[in-house]
Symmetry: C2
Subunit: 164 residues, 2 copies
DNA sequence: GAAATTCACTTGCATTTTGCAATCTAAGGA
DNA sequence: TCCTTAGATTGCAAAATGCAAGTGAATTTC
């Protein structure tokens, strides 16, 4: 294997350990693609709009798999295609991703529509429950469509019920 | 400046934008050090136990400052020393860090005592409020002491009151 | 008040990780 | 059969990282 770094000599702090696994510019983006957009294949990740190189993509998928965050299964309908899917450990990243989303939308310039973000902030529990539901039912409908500068992007989760 | 990378050509997704700023192995660790451990000086970060190189540390502090997450102020008592402090934007990362901490403690092998993590999980709002209080009052007492394999590490936040 | 120490960096250099384009293999389709 | 598609791997240049050493200003020690 050419890439896939070796372990770093760091502390046992959960934050530190987590960053060893996910602390780079791509890994959490792939988790987002799977969790929020319903992407499953190499191709979909590749065309995700962020411009990841194929060697890096292959490496990250491998690392996520090695880290127990992602599992691969052969696609039934097409022998060439592999489906990547979050594991229970992977879907448990939903709260992390949601907080990142909320923070980013608040403090950075993004294409996210404020209304949708506010709604998610008010209904964290519902957003996470809906993400988990889609994962359980293998529902590939995007929870949140990709943000385009011009999109109306209606988000797709039910209202009501507060966090946890 | 030798380091401090240029902007990447990526999407306007809040997650993506956030990862451009914080998506590396060190940045969030420094935020953790400031928020949770009360560290303020270059030396403290350096001896934080994770073994960051001084050039990388200098670069990350600079980037965090450029990103509006950290501010620097001259230490009153010692003209050599600079104090780094989170900005409002920086302290707003508390929920992100907390979710990472909880996730890591659940799914990775860490030195975090399960009891303390469970307590934080049940009292997210209190943990975040306490972190914010310490920040406002410039109270450098660690909210959570560094995890050593052998430590009893009592965490330091009050119980009661649920999230938000 | 001279020398030693501390703090916050910076520099040089080797190693690792990225990014990019091209290529490869196996499966499917025409 | 030949062509296309999915999922990679390879080579190479560029950038980021890790490491040891050095710098200069402010403080402490003698």
């Amino acid at each position: 294997m050419r890439n896939s770094s070796k372990v770093k000599p760091r502390s046992g702090c959960p934050v530190s350990v987590t960053l060893d696994l996910l602390g780079d510019r791509w890994s959490l983006l792939l988790v987002r693609d799977m969790m929020v957009r319903g992407y499953r294949t190499f191709r979909e990740f590749q065309r995700s709009g962020e411009g990841i190189a194929t060697n890096i993509l292959a490496d990250r998928l491998q690392r996520l798999e090695a880290g127990g965050i992602v599992m691969r299964e052969a696609a039934k309908l097409d022998g060439r295609s592999t489906h990547y899917r979050l594991t229970p450990k992977g879907i448990a990243l939903a709260p992390v991703l949601l907080e990142i989303l909320i923070w980013g939308a608040h403090y950075e310039e993004t294409d996210a529509p404020c209304g949708a973000i506010d709604a998610m902030e008010q209904n964290r529990g519902a957003v996470i429950a809906e993400a988990r539901r889609r994962w359980e039912e293998r529902d590939p409908t995007p929870l949140i469509p990709p943000f385009h500068s011009a999109s109306k992007s209606k988000s797709n989760f039910p209202k009501g019920e507060s966090r946890r």
